[in-house]
Every structure is written in structure tokens, then in C-alpha cells.
Symmetry: C2
Subunit: 699 residues, 2 copies
């Protein structure tokens, strides 16, 4: 999801998206045969924590990443079978498991006509060619299943130029600079397999589709019978041919460019001064009037992609779902992305499944495990699943937990999520020992790396907010389900790598993880324990551990940013933030009062129906922030607090964006009307949210 | 909501909408002080049936219709106070009651400059004027509070023409023909106060706004702080001046018109041959080159309009709401429309409130009584209420019951509603004696007037479907809440009147009801008992009496119509109905299986949480048919089964409409793509609905 440096060649810039996907269907549960506990059982929790086994996670990862398993490939389908087999195991499986398949539009390079990037001399002959594949450093970078580096959904075409027309960009080359990914290192002896850094030939693949979900079936599940948009009407594909290359090849191109010096922030670690073109240096490796030819032969193909879903039926409230998921498909072997997450998914389902099959335990609520397909192409499996079961999921899902890349690095936990999940993650991580030296809890270790000063709690670990980088996106943005993404990550004092260096390359292999990312797999185990504890707390606690009052801090901070950074501007245009202030205050008061009522109830012996009603208020709060009419241009984004923010002020996104657009227009313009509309949308959502937190008979 | 005959005058046609409205806010409930029954208590039901008193309904009506109470008028506000007083009565009131006010855009004729319709002679002098007010026949048609007949939201202007330009229509005159409203009768001795027929001077007022809700705040509650659309950007107002007149005046104009004879279906009972113009007859009452001048001086005004809401807190599931409502505002005295409904609302709340205050009874679920404001202008109060509390209402409302005009005539019950409410209405009406001679139940009487042959039940009374004629519209179309509208109505063998003849005129008075519509008020009592029984069954039954499998008949009939009337056409364009067939079959099977599970559970002793989960499936089924992206052009209409149907085939409206538009275009056109999209939308909704009916742990 990050931007990489882009080599202009009569060309421009493009985003490198790191996405991916999977889905499944459902089956008939057996009869309840286990005790139905009233509340979270700490002994069971302890047992689960103990049984989550680092060695088994390692073995899962070895198997999952043994072969490349690009979405819809035969190996991807093999893994579907592997998941089904595990989840149907009589000793350690779930109540039921099923695969479900969508027919989705994917994009692949042509096997007959590989994409090429050549330098063409003045007479038309090829005088230099970029590598078509990554170097076979460990024996795993070769073979027919390693997909050639490409930019998925970039159109085919053969543009040829070198910055020929500043505003007539004909194609894009993308590369990852060693300054951004390798802490500046670039020589083979400093890179994998000698370190975790990216070898010079490594190329980051990615999807260049702007939205998410199957491109042909927006808002509809990609079942065979669904209406498909005519290809000519699909929006969100890159308009021009695009190709990623390694920094080794980028150096050949970039260090030979002519023209004015690029801005300082564009300079990197390729060992030369980066220039903007046009043309090549007279004293460089190529004739000055050489050109770059980019030939892209990507093909769009309708492919079958499967999700796998496994379920543990709840003993008491089977209609409340705790959803836990990760995608299954990778670009190549994908040991880190996504198999480090899938390895944990399998270990978690094994431990819980074993307790289930032994009759030791059955959760209060249902637990659903999901292995999504085709995430890398744009969260396709998870999105299609939410489109197919929109109402059911929206009515019944307690929370969605995503563990995609489980270990980026082994320094600290990192959690992204909506405010109501903060407390359950805190509770879980305070009770789990951190890997590494010392005797810190995951929580205490975490707070050293990411923290903030909360007006309510003082210093606490800080949760990031959810963008659209993995399969949680449709759950939070489209369905309004409280969501989180959990991983172990970097010590930023030790590396500034944008992401782990072999991300989306053929070097993301088992040995890479085993040797560099997490030897001993203790960080994997830490993430498994964290996720496992969160799952158990959400599925077994009598009172749902979603603390809705934690939204108050977010709202207050958005409000303050609006007041400080937009207040004067709005006043100038006669727009008052008064109603927003009132709405935030109302929310704060109602959330606090609800918290009080919960405390009081917890001291008594409330009956299950009373608690159910309260839990419904907690579960459904996140839905009250959805407005499918708020951002008509933003596909799937309905959450008025977490929609994409393009405005610079960190406040309610609709307000921030509208102000940013209106800023230079006159009072009374349509842009200012939109500011007022966005303000009303937020106020209405907050007032509506506060109304759902009131005692239920107050209407 | 019906069309009336329109007198063209260089003019055109317009719809006469019969709408209206009221809202309230909420209060803090007291502690439970009554027994909490597990299920519907038949003794309580019997008591309520007995205590609903025709005489008290009559007295309510007398008071409610004593003065004109146009939306936002002082008398309308007086009635807000009356309702609050009744609902806060310590002996017979509810747990709490509150008024809430919206600032909404209404339209009124100018008091200084009355709207006029004149015939202007060739020299420019006025040679004939239409009546500006209705004749003061009973002493109630005079006075400043009787609003001059007008077409609300029609723009001001003074067009003058007589069919001058066939395609340059400059203004519209609307009248109600005696053939349509008076069974052909038109002389004063045959009309009110000598019969129930409309006097010659009677004029039907109405709102000519195309959508519903406050015109300035679509999708936002019309609280003072909400963003308001610039008047120039409001859509849905009539484009040209429009004025309603009585048939007495219409005769003067129409019977003097020149030109070709109007089509036979346009001829009426004014005693002459209707001609199309242009110009007047040479041998008529006016010079042939006279013109008609229409001067409309309507004004748009921001006004405060209130809803009143009263609540009986549920003893066991206070977060489940049974909503019962009617509007309060009238055009003039509004004895029938809406006070005949409000008179019942007050009697129902008195009887239930008395049981409540005595400590005899408290319902399992909460009951909410609503008196909506400004319905006549476009369902404004109810719509703003649903906009303000969208999520809360959608999550928690079991059903919405509307009783607007409670008695159109005294022959038979008439119910409009979605399929799941059929069974509860049947159960209720089988147990209540019908008014009138004989010893029939309301059900047995009803089936004589409206019936159909159900494949499941045999001959049953037939429910109508819900359009947008009263305040149920936002509940069913915008929120997807199972809704119904209940009334007593005509024996169609005795009258063909489009609606009761004094509808929306100054002749809709207490005496009119008392003498002609329902002497003795036994039909009012029958409606009160029906509504009362339905309310009790919905609020007190352990298992919700919503029979979701009754949707199967509707779906099957829509499917059959699609197959029979569109199948060949679709096949021609390579569009298969196969997926729709599968989806309907799946729905049928899942609905039947759910019915089985309910029967089994009912035989055992299910715990309340089990039943709650099942009831949630029943309550929320209707929501699964909502798709806010299905009909982007149809404001508020999200229900894929009940959206407005313009196509002639009585099937899924999106499909019907899209086919009707595509019919004459080539395969591959955008119109045919839209047919496929609409088909997929319905299939997805039905598949999603079926998924919510499955056992909850099957996902």
C-alpha cells in the first residue's frame, strides 16, 4: 500500500498496492455436545495460550510456502484442499468447513510474450534489456510457477520514449529504491540470502487496480450468474502500460538519465545523482538519443477463486459471529505475505478444534475462520463474501479480526483497529509474555514502541487506523463491523525499510522467515496468542468486550482538529461547528452512561436476555456510522469516520475532504454547500449513534 | 394518491397527492412495576377488545376535528398539546411522551393575494371568475382557518391561455369530476349535507411535491442545523403554476371549450361533451377568443412542525419496538383524514395506558405511538423521524402499523401490508365481530369483499401492497420494516367514488362522519380493535407473529409473471431467468424449514434467548430486501420488491421497469445491461434473504 519511487520515461508515477484475497461457504452444524459456559473461562484461555505451538506454526509455514500459490493457480487450489482437510479433521477440525468459489477478473502476464523493458538505440536496435525474471539466488526463484514481475491490471501496450513529452506520459516503470527498502544497501553480499535485504534483481509485484473487489461486479457477488460490467466501462484500471523492475535495472536507466537534477527528496541510494531527463547523458552507457521501450502483454482472465470458511458453532448465541480471516493467495511463495498469517490461522483452528472435538469447550458465540482468495488482486475474495452475505454479516458479526502478514519483524506488536476493539486487545496482551529477552508482557513491550497519551487512560499503546491494505477493508468500510489487524513489526530505530524488503518478490520464502524475520517463530507465536486470546474473549465473554466509549476519544480529537485547523475558515464562510460540538458531547455522555449501566449490571446477576440487549448495543454501534449515501464517488466506503481522507486536516474525512476542495472557492459555491452537507452527515451519524447508546426504551 | 381529471388550458395534467404528517421525541422510562408475561395473554386481549369504546372514539373525533388544523397552524400545535396531555395522564397515559419539532419547508397560498382563476375576454376584462373558496354550506367552510384551495408546492405565476400551445403548457387546472367522485351526481340537493357526495364548490387540496420528506433536507433530519439544499436545486416541485377548482367551476370552463371531442374515457358527468380546445365555443357562454387566466401566489415557508411520540416500555425486550402511527395535520377540519385515525390512536393509547397505569399489564416489547406532523405536504414528519433515527429504528423495530383514514366507508376491512404481517392480521380479525348485521367476524366479512386464492391457504382475504400514500412509506421503503395500513372501506357494488367524496375539502367534517360515513362509529371501533389486537400480538407474543414464509407466495407470483410475460423477451436477448428461479426456490425452502423449526420449538419449552434469536431472523427478514444502491434515481426507495413499478408486468419492480425501458432497444444496449443488473440485484437480495433464514450457525 505504499508508494515507491517511480522512474519516469516519458512516463509518470503509480502506486504499488499490496493486496490479496480468499472465500468459503457454509455447512450444517452438529448438535451441541459440550458444556455452555456463562462467561470467558480463564482455564480454557490458559490452555489455548499454552498449546499454540511455535514449532507447528513453523511447519505450517513450510508447507504453505513450499510452492508459489498465486490466486487461482493449481497450488492455490491445493491449499484450499489442505485447509478443508485440516478443518474437517475428526480430531482437530471445526464443526464444518466449506470452500466457495467466485468467478473473478484477474490479470496475468502472458507466458508466451513476457513483458519487456529495453533500451533501444538510435538505429532501432536493442542495446540493453532489463531482467525479465529475478535472479535464481536460492533455487526458488526459477521455474514456471514463479510469475514474472508485473503490474496487475496494467493494460498492454508498447510505449517507447524517454521523458519525450512531459505531459504525454505513455507508460510507467516502477521500482523500489534501496534507500526506501534496504536501508541504503544494494550489493549482493549485503542482501538476501546474506541478510533480509532485497537482492538487486528483486521486483515488487502488485495490483494496480484502484478499488477493491472483483472489477466486473461492484456491489454484486461474483457468482457466475451475476451481471458483469462491460470491460469498456470498468473504472479503476491504470490507463497506461506499467511495469515494475528491480533496482539493479533501475540503476542502469536512472543513473544514465540526462536533464536537471531531481528534487532532493527524490534522490535515492543507487549511487548516482538522479536526473529528470529528457534523454540520456552523452557520457553515459547509452547513446544520448536512445529510448526506453516498455512492452506489456498482461491479459485479463476470468478465473475461479475460492474462499474457505470453517465454523465453530456457538453454544449459546450461535447467531453472533466472531470472524477471523486471512488471505491465502500469494504473489510467489509468499512465506511472509500471507502465509505467516495462514500458518497462525491453521494453528489457532487446530488448538480450538482439538478442544472442541474433545468436548472440553464450545464457545458461547460462533467463531468463523476464513481463508480468502485473490486478496493480492484487490481484496477480492473477502469483498465478494461481504457482497453475497451483506445483511447476515452486518446483523450478526461481533467483530472481524484480520491477521495477514503476521510478522513483518520481531520487535513489537502492532495493531490497527477501530476504537471499540482497543480494550480487548489491551486485556489480551497484558496477559501474554512478549518474545525476546526480559519478562515483559506483549502490552508492556508494545507501549515502548507505539504509544500515546490518552486523556482517559494516560499512556497506552496506540492503535493505528484501518486503511484498505488487507481484507478488513470491506468489513469496516462497507459493512461497518468493528475490525482489527494484528501483526508483529519493526523496531524503527533499526530499519527504515518501507516494508520487509522481499515483499511481493520471489525472495519471500520460508528460509527468509526462518533465518531473518523470526528465527524460532516466537513472534509468530506471540501473534497467535494475541489473536487467540482476542477470539476467545470476543466469543466467550458474557458481556461483549467492545468498549464503545473509547470512540469518544477519537471523536473528541477529530472535533478538536476541526476546531483548530478549520474553525476560522468555516467561520469565515458562516459555517458553525456548534452542532458538531453538541453531537460529540451527546455521544460522550451516552457512551459514559452506558458504561455505567454495564458496570452496575456486572455487579448483579443479569439474565442472558438483558445482557444480549446490551451486547446488541455494543455490537451495532459501529453500524451507526455507516451512510451509503455519504460518499457516492468512493466505492464501498460508507463509514463516515474512516473513509479515505485526502484533506490534510486529521478530522472527519468527509469534512476534511470537502473543506480541502472548498478552500479556494467563494462562499456560496457548490463546494461550500458540500462542506455543509458533509458536516450534517457527520452530525446526523453521531446523533444517531448516541441515540442507539441510550437506554433502549428511551427510543 | 389518485389521478383526477385535468382540465387543459394551454395546460397539462398533474397528480393529486393525498399525503400528510406529525413527530415526537423520547423520554426516560420508569421502573418495571408490572408482571412480565411470557406470552400473549388472551384475557388482556379480551379486556382491550371490550374496552375500546365507539363513543369515546366519536368524542375524540369531535374534538380533533373541531377546528381546521393545517400542518404547523396554531390549532395543529394545540393538538400536539392535547396528545401530550392524554399520553401523560396519570390514570391512562403512557410511560412517557414527548413532542419533537422539525423545521420544514411547507407551501401555502398567500392570504393577501388569493389564487384566482378568471376568464378574460378579448378586450382584457374579466368576464367570469371561479370561486376562491368553497360554499359555506354548514357554517364550517368559512373563516380564516379554512385554507383556500391550492396545490401545495406549485410555483406562483400568472399564465393565461386556452390550449394555446399544445406543447407549451403554461399552467394546470385540476378538478374532480362527479363521474369519478360522486357516482355521477352533481346537484346541491344530491350532495353534502344531503348525502355524502361532494358539493359543487368542493375542491380537493393536495401536495404536488413528487417525493416525500422535507424537500430541503433529503436523507437528513430537518433539524435547524442540517444542511439545506438551495431552493434552485430542489427537484420534485411542479414546474408550472397549478390550481385545483371545484367541478362547478370546471363545468363553466369545460362545457364551453371548443375543438375536437375528448376521448371517451375522458368524458365525465358535467352534463356536456368534453372537448379538447383550443379556444371556446362560438355559441358558448364566453367570447370564442376569451382566455383563462390562472394566478397562483403560493409561498414557500420554513415552518416548525411537530411529531408526538409516546412509549410503553417493554417489560422483557424493551429494545424491540412495535410502532403505531398516524399523522395529525389535516387540510381543513380533516374529520376523516386524518382525525378518524387519530381518534382511534387516542382510544387505543387510553385503553392500553389504563391497564399499564393500573399495573395490570406491561407488554413484553415496547410499544411506540406516533402522531406525525405535515403528512399532507409529503409524509414529512414520519420521514424526518426515520432520517433522524435510521439505525436505531432499523435495528429494533418489529413492525410499523399505520392507521391514517380509519374509515373510508363502513363495508369491510381493507389492509395493505407486506406478506409477513398477513398472518397476524388474519389471527386478529378472526376473533373480532364485524360491525353491521349478522354475526360475522371481521375476517369473514372481509373475505367477501377482497379475496384471492392462495396456493397455500386456499381462499383468503387479499392484502393490498403498500405504495407511498401515507406515513408507512419511509418505514417500508427506506428502512425495510414490515409495515401495514389498516382501514374500513367501501362496498364497491354501491359506489365507484375514487375516494370518500369530501376528501381534502372543507366538507370533511365531524358531522359528515357522524351522519354518513360511520353513524354509531362501529366501523371505527372495528378498526381500533383490529389495530389493538395486532399491536398486542406483536408486542406480547413470545414468538413474533410475523410469518416470513408468506413472502414465498409473492416471490413465486413475481417469478411466474416474469417467466410468462418477460421470459420470451429476455431469452431473445440471451438473459436467463434460471438464477432467479433458483433463488426463489431457495427462499421457499429456507422459509419452510424455518417454519418447521419454529413449530418444533413451540412444542418444547425453548429458552428466551433461543426465541430471541429466532425472532431476530423473523424481524430482520424484511431488511434483507433493502439495497440502497438499487434505484439511485428513486429517492428513499431501497426495497427491491416494493419500489415503484412503472413497467406493466407485475413482477420485481427493478426488472419490470428495466425491461419496459429496454424493450425497444437492441441487445447489448445500456438498457439491456440495466436489465441484467436489476436481475442480479434481485437474485442477490433473495439469496441473501434465504441465507438469513437458514439455521444461524450455518452462516
Amino acid at each position: 500500500m505504499q508508494w515507491t519511487k517511480v522512474l519516469g520515461l516519458g512516463l509518470g508515477a503509480a502506486a504499488l498496492l499490496g493486496l490479496g484475497i480468499i472465500l468459503g461457504h457454509f455447512a450444517i452444524p452438529k448438535k451441541a455436545n459440550s458444556p455452555a459456559p456463562q462467561d470467558l473461562d480463564l482455564e480454557i484461555l490458559e490452555t489455548v495460550m499454552e498449546q499454540l505451538d511455535a514449532h507447528r506454526i513453523r511447519e505450517n509455514l513450510r508447507e504453505l510456502s513450499r510452492e508459489p500459490h498465486l490466486a487461482s493457480s493449481p497450488r492455490d487450489e491445493d491449499l484450499v484442499q489442505l485447509l478443508l482437510q485440516r478443518w474437517k479433521d475428526p480430531e482437530s477440525g471445526l464443526d464444518s468447513a466449506e470452500a466457495s468459489t467466485y468467478e473473478v477478473l484477474l490479470s496475468f502476464p502472458s507466458q508466451e510474450q513476457p513483458n519487456v523493458v529495453d533500451i533501444v538505440g538510435p538505429t532501432g536496435g536493442i542495446i540493453h534489456s532489463c531482467h525479465r525474471t529475478e535472479e535464481n539466488v536460492t533455487g526458488e526463484q526459477g521455474g514456471p510457477d514463479v510469475v514474472q514481475p508485473y503490474a496487475a491490471y496494467a493494460p498492454s501496450g508498447t510505449p517507447q520514449a524517454v521523458n519525450a513529452a512531459k505531459h504525454g506520459i505513455a507508460g510507467v516503470l516502477v521500482y523500489t529504491d534501496p534507500a526506501d527498502i534496504n536501508d541504503g544497501l544494494s550489493s549482493p553480499d549485503e542482501t538476501f540470502p546474506n541478510s533480509w535485504y532485497l537482492p538487486p534483481s528483486g521486483v515488487e509485484r502488485g495490483s494496480y487496480y484502484e478499488y477493491f473487489g472483483d472489477p466486473l461486479t461492484p456491489y454484486l457477488p461474483a457468482v457466475p450468474s451475476s451481471f458483469r460490467v462491460d470491460l469498456a466501462n470498468v473504472s479503476g484500471f491504470p490507463p497506461i502500460p506499467t511495469q515494475p523492475i528491480g533496482f539493479q535495472d533501475a540503476r542502469d536507466l536512472l543513473c544514465n538519465l540526462n536533464g536537471t537534477l531531481a528534487p532532493a527528496t527524490w534522490q535515492g541510494a543507487l549511487g548516482c545523482h538522479y536526473r529528470l531527463g529528457p534523454g540520456f547523458r552523452a557520457d553515459g552507457d547509452f547513446p544520448a538519443d536512445s529510448q526506453v521501450n516498455v512492452s506489456v502483454y498482461n491479459r485479463l482472465e476470468l478465473r475461479n477463486s475460492s474462499n474457505v470458511l470453517g465454523i465453530i458453532r456457538g453454544a449459546v448465541e450461535p447467531d453472533r459471529y466472531v470472524l477471523y480471516g486471512n488471505h491465502r493467495d500469494s504473489w510467489v511463495h509468499g512465506a511472509v505475505d500471507p502465509s505467516s498469517g495462514t500458518a497462525i490461522l491453521l494453528e489457532l483452528s487446530r488448538v480450538l478444534g482439538t478442544l472442541l472435538k474433545k468436548g472440553t469447550w464450545r464457545p458461547r458465540r460462533s467463531i468463523v475462520f476464513a481463508s480468502w482468495g485473490a486478496e493480492e488482486f484487490g481484496l477480492i475474495g473477502s469483498t465478494e463474501f461481504t457482497e453475497e452475505f451483506f445483511n447476515k454479516l452486518q446483523e450478526r458479526t461481533v467483530a472481524y479480526i484480520n491477521v495477514d502478514i503476521s510478522v513483518f519483524a520481531n520487535a513489537t506488536l502492532r495493531v490497527q483497529g477501530t476504537p471499540p476493539v482497543q480494550s480487548v486487545v489491551f486485556s489480551a496482551t497484558k496477559e501474554i509474555r512478549s518474545p525476546g529477552p526480559g519478562d515483559l508482557s506483549i502490552y508492556d513491550n508494545w507501549i515502548r514502541y507505539f504509544n500515546r497519551s490518552s486523556p482517559v487512560y494516560g499512556l497506552v499503546p496506540s492503535l493505528g487506523s484501518l486503511g484498505a491494505g488487507s481484507d478488513y477493508a470491506p468489513f469496516i468500510h462497507f459493512l461497518g463491523i468493528s475490525s482489527m489487524d494484528i501483526a508483529y513489526t519493526y523496531d524503527r530505530s533499526k530499519t527504515s525499510a518501507r516494508i520487509y524488503p522481499t515483499y511481493h518478490t520471489a525472495f519471500d520464502t520460508f528460509d527468509y522467515v526462518d533465518k531473518f524475520l523470526d528465527p524460532g517463530f516466537s513472534s509468530h507465536q506471540a501473534v497467535a496468542r494475541t489473536a487467540g486470546s482476542v477470539i476467545l474473549r470476543l466469543s466467550d465473554s458474557f458481556f461483549l468486550p467492545l468498549k464503545v466509549s473509547d470512540y469518544s476519544e477519537t471523536l473528541r480529537s477529530f472535533l478538536q482538529a476541526a476546531q483548530q485547523d478549520l474553525g476560522a475558515l468555516l467561520e469565515q464562510h458562516s459555517i458553525s461547528l456548534g452542532p458538531l460540538v453538541t453531537a460529540v458531547e451527546k455521544f460522550e455522555a451516552e457512551a459514559a452512561a452506558l458504561g455505567q449501566r454495564i458496570s452496575t449490571l456486572q455487579k448483579g446477576s443479569p439474565d442472558p436476555l438483558q445482557v444480549r440487549m446490551l451486547n446488541d448495543q455494543l455490537m451495532l454501534l459501529e453500524r451507526t456510522f455507516l451512510n451509503p449515501r455519504a460518499f457516492p464517488e468512493e466505492r464501498y466506503y460508507s463509514h463516515v469516520l474512516w473513509a479515505p481522507r485526502t484533506g490534510s486536516v486529521v478530522t472527519f474525512p468527509g469534512l476534511s475532504n470537502a473543506c480541502s476542495r472548498a478552500r479556494d472557492t467563494a462562499s456560496g459555491s457548490e463546494a461550500w454547500a458540500e462542506v455543509q452537507r458533509q458536516l450534517s452527515i457527520v452530525v446526523t451519524a453521531l446523533e444517531g449513534a448516541a441515540a442507539t447508546l441510550r437506554p433502549v426504551a428511551d427510543l
